[in-house]
């Protein structure tokens, strides 16, 4: 098991197999999203309170979920890289950050668009989830800025891993403090909570989209990491041999 893991983590091996794995994730992901989007838009019954506007949930929730997951991946991969000095883990963390930031942006944008018909405003300061998401976006910016500011890759990896680990604890505290804060300032309508008793016709497309987005995210991160590995290993012998190998054998 351990040996298998080590082999997987070796850069040339990872570089070779990543496209296959990525495709294995991509195809079912696209299928799930195709179903989820179609069913979410046209088959799912209308919400009795929000009308058809609730259909935004099929984008909003998956992207909010991925924004958090990407941050977790970043922190965990950074921790693994720090403790076990695994270079691949740092490459994963580096690739997770921009993807996570994109999905955070998507969650914020869809949340804001959803808020317009529901709250009558593009931005509701008192909604704790939107605020947490916004601060999460700031965390991503800080992380990427720190990475960008350090020229030495090995140093950037380690420094940003420390930041991600400190940040992951704080993201949780931010969430609690923002929730407490918004409870002080109620009066405005807060987005209705989606209860557990969701109509199956509404729920299944949502689950399909969450899984589909996750698979797609997995596929993207694998390929991003692959490029990152190639760039970081650009002066090694295996890269040189691969590039100089005849066309068919790459």
């Amino acid at each position: 098991m351990w040996k298998w893991f080590h082999q997987l983590a070796s850069p040339p091996h990872f570089y070779r197999i990543a496209p296959t794995f990525s495709l294995v994730l991509l195809l079912p992901g696209l299928a799930l999203i195709a179903y989820g989007v179609y069913a979410g838009l046209f088959l799912a019954p209308m919400d009795y309170q929000q009308g058809d506007a609730f259909r935004i949930i099929y984008i909003h929730v998956p992207s909010a979920y991925l924004s958090l997951m990407a941050y977790m991946i970043m922190a965990v991969a950074g921790g693994i890289g720090l403790i076990w000095r695994m270079k691949l883990a740092h490459a994963v963390a580096a690739s997770a950050a921009p993807l996570g930031a994109w999905f955070t942006f998507l969650a914020l944008a869809t949340g804001s668009i959803w808020g317009r018909p529901m709250w009558g405003t593009w931005w509701e300061w008192a909604d704790p989830r939107m605020m947490s998401e916004l601060i999460l976006l700031f965390f991503y910016f800080g992380y990427m800025a720190l990475r960008g500011a350090i020229d030495d890759t090995a140093k950037a990896d380690k420094a940003s891993a420390v930041l991600a680990l400190v940040g992951v604890i704080n993201v949780i505290i931010v969430h609690y403090s923002v929730t407490w804060w918004s409870s002080l300032h109620q009066g405005q309508t807060i987005m209705a909570k989606e209860g557990p008793a969701m109509d199956p016709g509404m729920l299944y497309p949502l689950l399909a989209n969450i899984f589909g987005f996750t698979l797609l995210f997995g596929s993207l991160i694998l390929r991003r990491t692959r490029t990152e590995v190639l760039f970081r290993e650009r002066r090694t012998r295996w890269v040189k041999e691969m590039i100089l190998a005849p066309e068919g054998q790459r």
Binding site: D151, D152, T153, A154, R235
Partner: protein
């Protein structure tokens, strides 16, 4: 008997550049190790790697037969490193600086006054470090070494900014330290004339 300070197969990369590869040495008490090489050949980096400030690509530095990574505090308690920069505060006086250093590591029996006399900086005592010349500041860094009770001295280009007299003094002090059973690692690009067992590591 294993050497007190030893290193095996040290390899260090800075970014893509390999600074040194496969460096090894073994140093016993009473011996001097000289790191030779032109400017930019990685002498300072090798020294930083020995004290554990840099992450080595490969290789182990051992102190009394045990890797220093496993006993960082013990190892750091056994050395003083006079780096390229003196590492003292310019706003504090000579005495304030040395008193601070004394709180960090074990101190020998020599009192401050004797050591300062020896280094001929006794009369500069009340001055803040910023009003001292570069050579005088070097001497304060030497005082830090003499006051500490440690077996291992690491010196990065100890002769810069010193006049002929100062250089002779450094060699004399190192010789005394070695005679007492101490060890010294010195990075130098000029000849060192010290009558003691000398080992060398040459960096390209």
């Amino acid at each position: 008997m294993t050497a007190q300070l030893s290193a095996e197969n040290l390899t260090l990369f800075r970014g893509d550049r390999c600074l040194f590869r496969g460096v090894g040495f073994a140093l016993n008490s009473g011996e001097l190790l000289i790191l030779e090489g032109s400017n930019g050949s990685g002498k300072t980096s090798l020294m930083k790697a020995i004290v554990g400030m840099l992450d080595l690509e490969k290789g182990v530095v051992s102190w009394n037969g045990m890797p220093v990574a496993e006993q960082r505090q013990v190892f750091h308690g056994a050395l003083v490193w006079t780096a390229h920069r003196v590492g003292l505060k310019a706003d504090l006086t000579l005495v304030e600086n040395l008193r601070f250093e004394a709180a960090l590591r074990p101190q020998g029996s020599d009192d401050l006054e004797t050591v300062l006399e020896r280094l001929e900086i006794s009369r500069l005592k009340p001055l803040p470090l910023r009003s001292l010349s570069a050579g005088q500041q070097r001497r304060v860094a030497l005082a830090r070494m003499l006051l500490a009770d440690v077996p291992l001295w690491l010196m990065d280009e100890p002769f810069t900014n010193l006049d002929r007299e100062g250089r002779a003094l450094v060699m004399e002090l190192v010789k005394e330290h070695l005679d007492k059973g101490g060890m010294c690692v010195m990075a130098a690009h000029q000849d060192v004339e010290i009558d003691a067992p000398v080992k060398k590591v040459v960096l390209q």
